[in-house]
């Protein structure tokens, strides 16, 4: 196999090397060197990713096999990387946004001690390595390695400041919730192995389409497998019911929130389903598609309502991420895989931008995250302010910013499924615009509400932080132009054309006419602008006041955490207590000690046989011989 793409292993290898060097040398290297190695390795991967992207531009795909990862009987799982349109898009997003965030981190984390600084960059590099493995894996097992890797890094980075007990709890929460999803994913993989005797994507999809003799999936298999994979995705991509870890994950350093909990890791679920689109497009997966659609929509709506009343700048963004992920799942459920991938891309730009912007704000406020203490920051932090504005406009979906095109594609696919879906999705999009601009106005306009000292300390962030903001702002603005819908210009949907060989969207149930499409776009634009103006009217001069009534329910996140606490965590604790205090000391210890005591007692009794009388020995010998002959004699019959 003499293909230039065979060297793609370098893409994940570079961050892995960066992880090893930074991780092992964190006590010896200077901060500058650590920053250079950390960012440089990602830059190298980014350049390689661009090269790979150019290679696959014309519909090339390549599976690079390196060695057998597992070979048991006739099940052979090679360590193979698959390069095609879908993975190359994700490679660009991960390494591109990842690189900017690394650069940003060199400045944001500069007050850490060198050892912790090195640990931080080692984790970040390990994360990028896992994520690259996840999107490049040519079979479910390699994907799963990356899947677990990002979960681990998420845990490590959420609990990065491990001296605070709350942060450790948040890290545990993220890890455990992810594990629930991972379990479903694992079961799905085993199920696939029993039916297809292979885990490689090409092979499994061929079996699913009935192209392989002697192996097939029944309709039931398809339903269960797609559903289990989706449950796996709900864990990683923070959907109902496993979404509560994501807002708590904001305990980690802000660039981590930008990288992991907005731009890349949480999109792993979207990637996995888009990658398995050939399974999800089968007729047998109809039920799963509906479940995905409604779960996505419900998550989008629920998270958007919660985001309306949050007062922590990062929590607002976190719930907004959950909500946008819900949109992506809505798109996946309606079969608009390209729209979902498109939204992943634009969302990576503007959400990374806003998280980094919020990091810049937190940096300036000396660690303060409560937006009620802020206000009027726009005058002091011009670059942060204007880039944040661009991010908000983009996520709100104002023409011609990137969010408009991707969200419009999703809304359109919802409309094609049913107008009711469209209505709810549009309402959620309006909420999105409202809460984002609420955040913007409360933070950046009006009067400053913090302390004197904070007011004195306010300053624009250094270049290493503002430059990524500016680049991401440009991308947030222009990122949508790769997927201009066909209604504006024939053949302008370059992303759709690019992905077509790998990701085939389901045929639309009923084609929407161009005039309807224009009407829908006009409607959403007008309503979004109205929603922005409403936010301006309400929050332009924000005064602090306590939330009451329904607002209090929203501020407390619909009490979902409390519900989980009482319904799942507390009973589990009680159950654990029973096991610890009763079952373990009484039953388990009893069995173990009892076995010892039995042997002790038995041997004391048996000792009496050892009389020392030769006669008794001989008697026993004769009796046992008679016994053996007797058994022999009767068993012969």
């Amino acid at each position: 196999m003499n293909n230039a793409l065979q060297i793609v292993y370098l893409i994940p290898l570079l961050p892995l090397l960066g992880f090893l060097i930074n991780g092992l040398g964190r006590n010896y290297l200077s901060k500058t060197l650590i920053g250079l190695i950390g960012s440089g390795s990602i830059l190298g991967s980014f350049i390689l990713s661009i090269w790979v992207f150019l290679q696959v531009k014309d519909g090339n795909t390549h599976v690079a096999e390196y060695f057998n990862f597992i070979a048991i009987d006739n099940l052979v799982i090679p360590f193979a990387l698959k390069i095609d349109a879908l993975s190359s898009i994700f490679l660009l997003i991960i390494t591109g946004v990842g690189f900017l965030i690394h650069v940003y981190s060199t400045s944001y984390m500069h007050e850490e001690k060198p050892a912790h600084f090195g640990r931080y960059f080692a984790y970040l590099n390990l994360f990028v390595f896992s994520m690259l493995l996840l999107v490049m894996g040519a079979n479910f097992v390699i994907l799963f390695i990356g899947w677990e890797g990002v979960g681990l890094c998420s845990y490590l980075l959420i609990g990065f400041w491990f001296k605070k007990q709350e942060y450790n709890k948040a890290a545990n929460k993220a890890f455990i919730m992810n594990r629930i999803g991972d379990l479903a994913f694992l079961v799905a993989i085993f199920w696939i192995i029993t039916r297809a005797q292979s885990v490689s994507f090409d092979q499994v999809f061929a079996v699913a389409k009935g192209e392989v003799a002697g192996r097939s999936f029944s309709g039931f298999d398809i339903s269960v497998i797609t559903l289990l994979l989706f449950i796996g995705a709900t864990g990683k991509s923070a959907q109902i019911p496993l979404y509560t870890w994501l807002p708590d994950a904001m305990a980690g350093p802000t660039p981590v929130s930008a990288l992991i909990h907005a731009a890349t890791m949480v999109t792993a679920g979207i990637y996995m389903i888009a990658r398995s689109n050939e399974l999800y497009s089968l007729d047998a997966a109809e039920l799963t598609r509906n479940i995905i659609t409604y779960t996505g929509l419900a998550t989008a709506l629920l998270a958007a309502t919660i985001a309306l009343k949050q007062n922590d700048i990062k929590k607002v963004l976190a719930y907004s991420t959950v909500s946008q992920l819900g949109f992506m799942f809505l798109a996946l459920g309606t079969g608009a895989y390209v729209a979902a991938v498109f939204h992943v891309m634009t969302h990576a730009f503007f959400k990374a931008l806003m998280f980094l912007g919020s990091g810049s704000v937190i940096h300036a406020m000396g660690g303060e995250q409560d937006i009620r203490q802020m206000g009027g920051l726009g005058k002091k932090m011009k670059i942060t302010f204007w880039t944040f504005v661009i991010g908000c406009v983009a996520i709100a979906g104002v023409f011609p910013f990137s969010g408009f095109f991707s969200k419009d594609a999703i809304l359109l696919s919802a409309f094609e499924k049913s107008p009711v879906l469209y209505g709810v999705a549009l309402f959620t999009a309006l909420l999105t615009a409202f809460y984002m601009f609420r955040l913007l106005f409360i933070t950046f306009t009006g009067k400053f509400r913090g302390t004197e000292e904070q007011a004195h300390h306010l300053h624009e962030s250094p270049l290493a932080m503002t430059l990524p903001l500016i680049i991401l702002a440009v991308l947030s603005f222009a990122g949508g132009f790769v997927g201009i819908p066909a209604v504006f210009a024939e053949g302008a949907d370059r992303l759709g054309d690019f992905l077509k060989p790998v990701v085939a969207s389901l045929p639309h149930a009923h084609e929407v006419s161009h005039s309807t499409e224009y009407t829908l776009m006009g409607l959403s634009t007008v309503l979004v602008l109205g929603s922005i103006i409403a936010a301006w009217v309400v929050y332009r001069n924000y005064q602090r006041k306590e939330a009451t009534g329904f607002a209090k329910v929203l501020e407390n996140k619909w009490y979902v955490d409390e519900l989980y606490e009482n319904v799942i965590v507390k009973p589990l604790h009680t159950f654990g207590g029973i096991l610890k205090n009763i079952v373990d000391p009484k039953v388990v210890d009893g069995l173990v000690n009892g076995a010892g005591r039995l042997v002790n007692y038995g041997s004391r009794q048996l000792r009496l046989l050892q009389s020392g009388q030769v006669g008794s020995y001989v008697l026993l010998m004769v009796l046992s011989m008679v016994l053996i002959f007797g058994i022999q004699f009767f068993l012969r019959k």
Partner: protein
């Protein structure tokens, strides 16, 4: 003579041997009983060997060696028994010299 008689005689000898070993306390008598058991087995082996050889001759197989291994065993048993007697009697002699008795129940120090 039918083989049954040999078997019954041999069984009687063997049982006498076992009962003797189990009931007597005198080491020399126990020893004799063991010899009795060994010879009961020898008798049986020889009897069967002769039976098989007769059967082969009756089947007009003059060159047959049927039953010879049985007699071979008998020689082995005799040799082993002779060796055993020499060692065993020596032990009994030593025992008598030390404790002035050949009563096996007197020797119960094996349990320690």
């Amino acid at each position: 003579m039918p083989i049954n008689y040999y078997i019954l005689l041999s069984l009687a000898l063997f049982t006498i041997g076992i009962v003797g070993v189990l009931t007597r306390r005198n080491a020399i008598i126990i020893f004799m009983c063991i010899e009795l058991m060994l010879n009961a087995v020898n008798l049986l082996l020889v009897a069967f060997s002769k039976m098989h050889l007769n059967a082969a001759i009756l089947a007009n197989d003059a060159a047959s060696t049927a039953g010879t291994d049985g007699q071979l065993f008998v020689f082995f048993i005799m040799v082993v028994a002779a060796a055993e007697v020499s060692v065993g009697l020596a032990i009994i002699v030593m025992m008598y010299r030390n404790i002035h008795s050949v009563d096996v129940n007197f020797l119960n120090r094996l349990k320690h």
